[in-house]
Homo-oligomer: 586 residues x 2
Amino acid sequence: MSDYKHPYRDALFVLNELVDFDKLCAEHGFADANLELVSAIFDEAGKLGSEVLAPLNRVGDTQGVSLTEKGVQETAGFAEAYHQFQESGWPSLTAPEAFGGQNLPNVVGTAVNEIWHSANLSFALCPMLTQGAIESILHHGSDALKEAYLSRLVSGEWTGTMNLTEPDAGSDLAAVKTRAVPNGDHYLITGQKIFITWGDHQMTDNIIHLVLARLPDAPFGVKGISLFIVPKFLPDGSRNDAQCVSLEHKLGIHGSPTCVMSFGDKGGAIGYLVGEAHKGLAYMFTMMNHARQGVGLQGLSIAERSYQQALQYAKDRLQGTNKDGSRYPIIKFPDIRRMLMVMKSATEAMRALALVSAAEIDRAHGSEGEAAQTHQNRVELLTPIVKGWLTELAQEITYLGTQIHGGMGFIEETGSAQHYRDARILTIYEGTTGIQALDLVGRKTLVNKGEHLASLLEEIGQTLSALEASGQFPVQAKALRASLADGQAARQLLLDKSAEDAALAGSISVNYMMLFGYLCGGWLMSQAALKAQALLEANSGDPAFLNAKLTTSRFYAEHLLTRTGSLLAVIQAGSASILALPEDQF
Amino acid sequence: MSDYKHPYRDALFVLNELVDFDKLCAEHGFADANLELVSAIFDEAGKLGSEVLAPLNRVGDTQGVSLTEKGVQETAGFAEAYHQFQESGWPSLTAPEAFGGQNLPNVVGTAVNEIWHSANLSFALCPMLTQGAIESILHHGSDALKEAYLSRLVSGEWTGTMNLTEPDAGSDLAAVKTRAVPNGDHYLITGQKIFITWGDHQMTDNIIHLVLARLPDAPFGVKGISLFIVPKFLPDGSRNDAQCVSLEHKLGIHGSPTCVMSFGDKGGAIGYLVGEAHKGLAYMFTMMNHARQGVGLQGLSIAERSYQQALQYAKDRLQGTNKDGSRYPIIKFPDIRRMLMVMKSATEAMRALALVSAAEIDRAHGSEGEAAQTHQNRVELLTPIVKGWLTELAQEITYLGTQIHGGMGFIEETGSAQHYRDARILTIYEGTTGIQALDLVGRKTLVNKGEHLASLLEEIGQTLSALEASGQFPVQAKALRASLADGQAARQLLLDKSAEDAALAGSISVNYMMLFGYLCGGWLMSQAALKAQALLEANSGDPAFLNAKLTTSRFYAEHLLTRTGSLLAVIQAGSASILALPEDQF
């Protein structure tokens, strides 16, 4: 098992230098917040993460969860940790004051969530899903529903879940079959949902399920899905007809119960319609877009945890022998150092993109008119990249984490393998990488004729100009110039050729998404270098930390940003050879 | 759980068209062997693999192994399967007739081993290690040792193990501490070895351990290591002082016992010196080079198994909905098809390289003088590429295998996650990817001034000329031309700059190894296209199969061969940013 320590210096650097946090607070409705407050928050959250949640990470993995007569029993120790988490007010960090929240910016919530997910991914899924439920009810629920549910979700007294998937309806939600029949002031829900994260547990008095179902008069497909609140316990205290009937045996996140939920075994679970009928999918997307950035953040978090563990091992493990017989640690070997640098520089780029994207949500909410729309466009453009790219990179990084351990990496007691297993879900849930990539090529590029992407590329071009003007970063400038050109070419190819080839977008989508991920990382790591250099020249800040940032920026440019060239080559190959093989020849 | 079926058509295609198998047999001492015989062998092996070994794959994963009073108890059903495997004569396939072997070419053994590893990786490790023990004794043991041990290892009546690693001696074998003290006609061995695959089991009457240890007068470092045979049961039937004292709890290959072996708890295990004192490491390398190609082959095997499972799921899983409400399988989606094509084309390239390399071993052994040396040079050059590149690709392919399953990929019962977990060991054991890459840049490139690599690049150039001359493969020709240039540049850079930068080779090694892996794959997939085209033009063979080969060759050129560009860019960045960060800033 490994210790975990929040890399608060890098988080503060990103907030201050790349997000311009204090300006964000001043201009967008968070007058009480500033970086000093965030620093104090990091202190407290970091302590809870390191001391309470991180030590339970392996316990969750080895002991898992069980289905008992009274429902799902979570891992021993999780309930106590949850109560401590709840009593310290962490669930309410970003919620509105009207419902007991602390009204802090989303970007602060995101930066703090990094800690929970690093410390204990399985545990942190529970408040993450609750957060999604809060968002949905806040934006789409009636005042009565808000009154009944919000404050206790915000306080963490209750938790929330998302019930979308059914055995025949995964990525294709049009196939949802769960039924909802009107019955007085409520509805009776009948059906089965699978892959329901934290669908049941004993940590809180109630659990609020948000459930997609079809009304009797529902149109065919995705336009006939409605969203319902189905509480585990009804307002009168009686048990609702909704329960976990089995638990999945999974590759990872063993501490997080993944439930098969059965609604209506005894005639119908009582549910309350959220918003208007047949608009459930749109409402669920409110929750999902939030959750998608959240899962991208999990990619950063598990990468950071894996990096810390591998780094410790690389410093401790003596394996080289000097001529005098004394031994030295494996961090002295260039290839071990290369792997650590990939992990570190990628993780810094991921953190930068996660927080910059999270801040755009605050700017969108805190602006009006055209400005709000511009920020919202950026949020929507970045969301599939944050989800897709960060979680794909997390696979590589947790892989390297185990690789650095050599044979010990394959031994479960070491703990590195758990991060590798836990990370594997991230490119699957909340929409697979393929689904994110389709979103990026379709709704986020083609639908707006590539305008939102053009505006991002223009901004990247400004960073490139600044790099070139400074004359101090020839390596980064060269790599960013090439990569920006790759991005422009990929965008243009998609816009030019999609009309004549209906399969093009789907064929190139994942490589297109990865290309823009690396490019965004390069953009922000270049900005980071410019900022670090300016601080160094002003004799401001810790020069060792700032010089390290110059090094990771350069390494990222050389080792990760250069990947866009090969990605563009694959994109340029188009759809032909992907589709050429007859099905019977596979 | 998934079925497994040996892709015998592709294996026969590679043997016939890329290995020129019948010519190899005729010219290199295997007059009785030919492709027709191999085809019959594939039939039998394929049946045993599909019907007996493959169904035990998940049993091994879920039930694992246990340490009991009588030693390690293997998974239920494995002993029966082993006896069937042994009685059918599979262990003796490539061994010399003098010891009861069938004297078939190594490339046939390799092609058949693909089946065992695909069907059941954990099971197949046992005969694979035995094969390594046979090689060591055959090449380095005295006549008395050969007489005593070889025929029963060849028949499979006994199994063999390799005992190298110790807690403080992993990649750095110089640190081996196990001691061997002369005692009459034998030695007394004392020490502990870890990560000993199939170190104990109940399937056979005896187990022959090959153990690295130091004699009392041994020089410091790797030049003081000797190799010993330590049988579990001594010639007089008594139990030797060597036993498994614990089993590792691992990420994968649960059906393969990974033992901590203790030698000499009761005064010293009786061991017999193999060959000369202090030359154990060289002898072990005989075994390891064989084993390294064997582990590379495992990469192919698990990739093939993962592909077959993902393909079945992609054909079965209905998720798209037509306008009339009917549904279609996910293989219709371009991105699913892209992932399947990556898996299929990479697996074909891996098989081609594994078998072409295995055939070079036959050509080296079956030639004399300069010709033998030329083939041996090629074997040694390709070995780290086969081990390193095939096993790294296997990570990506088993990852895609789970990805195609969506949420089901994360559920253990589906079986895809097992392949992903099992594959994870392959880049670690028998020398990590980093160790293979160091071997390639050092002993295999710098030591011979790049001459062996130059000769390979020249041959690739000939294939490129043939592609260009045919005029029918502009896509493959363009990609191979670019990639060959990348390879030439990488080689030249290593040769030119290593002298002035001692850290260069170790810094670029893994990317260098991967570059040459992709290039070798592109070389052989290009040859395959030329051969398939010639057969099509001659109206020979199944046109559907041959056209499929043209498609996978093109896809490989577009999607995998193009990766060398980015790898070269990283190589050109050299060692500076890898080494720049002070240790305290990690």
